[in-house]
Amino acid sequence: MLKELLEKYEKKEDLLLEILLECQVVKSDHFISKDDIKEIADYLSIPESKVCSVLSFYTFFSDKPRGKYIIQVCKDIPCYISSDVNVLNIIEKELGIRVNETTSNKQFTLEYTSCLGCCEAGPVMRINDKIYTHLTADKIKAILSEYRVYM
């Protein structure tokens, strides 16, 4: 699968971030494995250590398997002060996991994120690429149950 993805890209070193980003999105467990690192490094003819240094620098990348849905909760000030509820606590209780953990059925991973740039509509969270705004306890529960239906 990675081979097909790689062939869309020119063999240019500066495309490393773009390749890693797409690779991580299309994989159902949303992470870059050791095999992926080797395959990408070989394709671009760069050392594996170079791929690793990029991987560990950017917060978007993970070298451990994650759930099908990655829930990211904004922790910055605008969301914090416009929030009547503790978004993270509610999700932790609902899913029975703590931040940076994955549910045992591999459906959800819970993470923090830096500002999502939706400060006018806080508190916000993101599930994969979809952003949810104006969160309340009821809304969070409703959103999570929607994702559970499609498990």
Binding site: K12, E13, D14, L15, L16, L17, E18, L20, L21, S53, V54, F57, Y58, T59, F60, F61, K75, D76, I77, P78, Y80, I81, S82, T113, S114, C115, L116, G117, C118, C119, E120, A121, G122, R126, D129
Partner: protein, 419 residues
């Protein structure tokens, strides 16, 4: 008080997916105008307008343009910095989501005037909608002859590529951004040389913020002198303000420079929710000063903001009401920078960890007078000794709070936790 809509005039009035609607609303007509002008006279108009960068640092745009124009390399780049990672800022997202072609038109005019051969838009990875809208708009612009070879029948060739960030705040800093575009970790470089001489792939490169590029078409339409009549002598034109926090109406507002902060909060933002009192307002984002209510009559302008020994031009206003505690907020600010520091230079990498430890002492009411002195001197060391804008501006919140909220610090020392 009403907004002055120059850069945001199309917000909500056109379908951002439609190039035709953009064209029908004065779109690309200023590119046509620019293509008939002498390249040097375009830069002269920007100089007369005294346009300063809207990303935060406020550097005069014309100087960057002159710098790039005089370089004789075959390849020259311009980069649109859309890595809007500063908490509390979302105006670049509005610009890209509501009027993507205006960003492209601004880039095209700057590229033509400076002889740039290729453009990049570096968008933070969190802004997926902006990324897809920009990619769509670039395709539309190519189909309609506004991008690519022989643009509008001229000899001008130019192409723009969208690249995504991957969750790193420091990549908003120009050299960190360049490193990231080269496919590396986003660690800054030592300046000089500046990007306009040695930038992306070691070629001359001009980097401007989304709002700066978006302002260019209106500037060309009005002419530099007319543009300079808006605002104040040190800060010309209009500014998009991202208003958030405990105000009734949050959002992006466009104002001429020179408007008091209080007017933005009360007249445009409708005042504070449940009519509570303001405890503090943070300007610019996490890297900006925290000021009390009595300072809110100051006007928004570069010169006035220099008082805080920081460059705070990105235009965020985060309003926090009386329910919030200064030290709780300061800890969040410091933790943010601790996480986002790239780790290249010591004051920034180690300093934020120690700042957090000191703030925690105030939260736990275990601080002494010595801790105020340590906090102040450490904040100044990070400010003065860091390599890039991150460490140079991150202590601003602490330095300003020590000046304007001294009583809060004294109170924590005089009322220590018992037992």
């Amino acid at each position: 008080m009403k907004e002055m809509k120059l850069v945001s005039k199309r917000f909500g009035k056109i379908n951002p997916l439609s190039i035709d609607e953009y064209i029908n609303f004065d779109g690309y007509k200023n590119l046509k105008k620019a293509l008939k002008m002498e390249k040097t006279s375009i830069i002269e108009e920007v100089e007369k307008a005294y346009l300063r960068g809207r990303g935060g640092a406020g550097f005069p745009t014309a100087i960057k343009m002159m710098g790039l124009a005089k370089e004789t390399n075959k390849e020259k780049f311009i980069i649109c910095n859309a890595d809007e990672g500063e908490p509390g800022n979302f105006k670049d997202r509005y610009l890209m989501e509501n009027d993507p072609h205006q960003v492209l038109e601004g880039m095209l005019i700057v590229a033509y005037a400076t002889g740039a051969t290729k453009g990049y838009i570096y968008v933070r990875g969190e802004y997926q909608k902006s990324i897809s809208l920009l990619k769509w708009s670039i395709d539309e612009a190519k189909k309609n002859g506004y991008l690519g070879k022989n643009i509008l029948g001229s000899k001008f060739n130019f192409d723009i590529e969208v690249r995504s960030g991957a969750g790193s705040y420091v990549c908003g800093e120009e050299f960190a951004l360049i490193e990231s575009l080269e496919g590396k970790p986003g660690r800054t470089r030592v300046k000089p040389p500046f990007p306009t001489s040695v930038g992306l792939h070691n070629k001359p490169t001009l980097i401007n913020n989304v709002e700066t590029f978006s302002t260019i078409p209106s500037l060309i339409e009005m002419g530099g002198l007319e543009f300079a009549k808006i605002g104040t002598p040190s800060s010309t034109g209009t500014k998009l303000i991202s208003l958030s926090g405990n105000v009734k109406h949050k959002g992006v507002f466009e104002i001429p420079y020179g408007v008091p902060i209080r007017d933005v909060i009360y007249k445009l933002g409708g005042g504070i929710e449940k009519d509570r009192k303001i405890k503090m307002v943070q300007l610019g984002g996490a890297c900006g000063p925290i000021i009390p209510d009595y300072m809110l009559d100051m006007i928004i302008d570069y010169e006035r903001f220099e008082e805080f020994e920081s460059k705070t031009g990105a235009g965020a206003i985060i309003v926090m009401d009386e329910r919030f505690d200064l030290f709780d907020i300061l800890l969040k600010v410091v933790r943010f920078f601790q996480h986002e520091s790239c780790g290249k230079c010591t004051p920034c990498r180690e300093g934020h960890i120690q700042l957090a430890n000191l703030i925690i002492k105030f939260i736990e009411r275990k601080a002494t007078v010595k801790d105020i002195i340590s906090l102040e001197s450490l904040a100044r060391v990070i400010h003065q000794a860091s390599l890039c804008g991150l460490g140079q501006t991150s202590p601003t919140a602490i330095i300003s709070s020590l000046r304007y909220f001294r009583d809060d610090y004294i109170d924590r020392i005089e009322h220590p936790q018992k037992g």
